[in-house]
């Protein structure tokens, strides 16, 4: 299954996504949690902590720096740039805007 969670800011998208991902993981299903927010917070709700949430290399950065020149498979990308969250959930972040753009 592929589920996207949407809604207004503050409605509880991130919290719902995290509980959903971990609940599925607890049932023994392999789960990938993808944070597609440019202000990514999903790691906090999954329970991986502040630092890991802030410093997890994003898939966008990986492509921008050309680290993945041989275009690895989705599985390899997750392996290299994702992080483990509780209940067998693998977390990956697409992009993060953390600094003001120049000019």
């Amino acid at each position: 299954m592929k589920i996207a969670v949407v809604g207004k800011g503050g409605a509880g998208k991130t919290t719902t996504s995290a509980v959903l991902a971990r609940s599925l993981g607890q049932r023994g299903l392999p789960v990938v949690a993808l944070d597609c927010d440019t202000n990514p917070n999903l790691g906090l709700s999954l329970g991986v902590g502040d630092n890991e949430t802030e410093h997890l290399l994003t898939l966008r950065e990986m492509l921008d720096t050309g680290e993945a020149e041989h275009a690895p498979s989705f599985g390899e990308i997750l392996e290299r740039y994702g992080t483990d969250a509780p209940d067998n959930v693998r977390l990956a972040v697409i992009t993060r805007i953390e600094n003001p753009e120049p000019g």
């Binding site: 800011g9 409605a11 917070n41 502040d50 953390e98 600094n99 753009e101």
Partner: protein
């Protein structure tokens, strides 16, 4: 003149506080223009105007000619004319200009974006106090959508996620185009520990604290402006304190 923009995580209370701030400032007899760049605008609720979009017709923009931006206001139409024609009249004489999904056969977001940036760049900053509301998160803020503001107000709930977002947004002041002042308002505080949590994490003393107020939650359910639902309640008092603080910052600045 005050030029302030409200930023923060989604749901932190930016629109609610910004709209109330605009009205309380206007009650002092000041001319206030509320600027809403959120494509899903929340400001009408707190301003107390109809929630429907306040549309800008699509014929306000034309394709720019050589050397101009891609889309420009049509000849003869300038920022003050845009405000006169399309800024909604709100309670307390606030005028409200919405980012404006341009309405025509289709919603033309890109045209609206160019029209918006031209209006904001060209409007007479000596004529209006500007009170802006941005969408939640970091995207618009980091891409310079609040360049019109010299003060940014960071709205923070005492939650881990809201604080995490706030630590990203304080970096706005490092941009060369960034605001010269950053003020923090704590929203939905339940106790002193909540306020400490914010001031410790951001290393900034909050300019104002809005206590958790059930009246605001009730107004949110009914679609009423908190200022009208409870004109002298805790929420209105806290935002009034913010208006007082911000006004003082500006008067110190101009009369050293």
């Amino acid at each position: 003149m005050i030029r302030i923009a409200f930023v923060g995580k989604g749901g932190a209370g930016k629109s609610t506080i910004a709209g109330t701030f605009a009205r309380l400032l206007a009650r002092r007899g000041e001319p206030v223009l509320a600027l809403d760049s959120d494509p899903m605008p929340g400001m009408p609720y707190s301003l107390g105007v109809a929630v429907d979009d306040h549309p800008i017709p699509e014929d306000v923009v034309v394709a720019g000619s050589e050397g101009q931006p891609r889309w420009v206001l049509r000849p003869g139409l300038d920022a003050s004319e845009m405000i006169a024609r399309y800024a909604a009249q709100c309670p307390d004489s606030v005028r409200y200009l919405q980012f404006g999904n341009l309405w025509g056969p289709v919603v033309r977001l890109q045209q609206a974006q160019f029209a918006w940036s031209q209006v904001v760049a060209e409007l007479d900053a000596e004529q209006w106090h500007l009170v802006g509301d941005l969408p939640g998160g970091t995207r618009q803020a980091m891409f310079g959508w609040a360049k019109y503001a010299d003060t940014v107000c960071l709205v923070v709930e005492p939650t881990v996620k809201s604080l995490h977002t706030a630590t990203r947004l304080v970096k706005l002041t490092q941009a060369e185009w960034g605001p010269s002042r950053l003020v923090v308002i704590v929203n939905k505080a339940q106790d002193h520990a909540d306020v400490d949590r914010v001031s410790k994490r951001l290393a900034v003393e909050p300019a104002a604290v809005v206590p958790h107020d059930p009246v605001v939650a009730q107004a949110d359910r009914q679609g009423a402006a908190p200022l009208d639902a409870s004109p002298a309640g805790a929420f209105a008092q806290s935002v009034e304190a913010l208006v007082e603080q911000v006004t003082a910052l500006y008067s110190r600045h101009s009369h050293p």
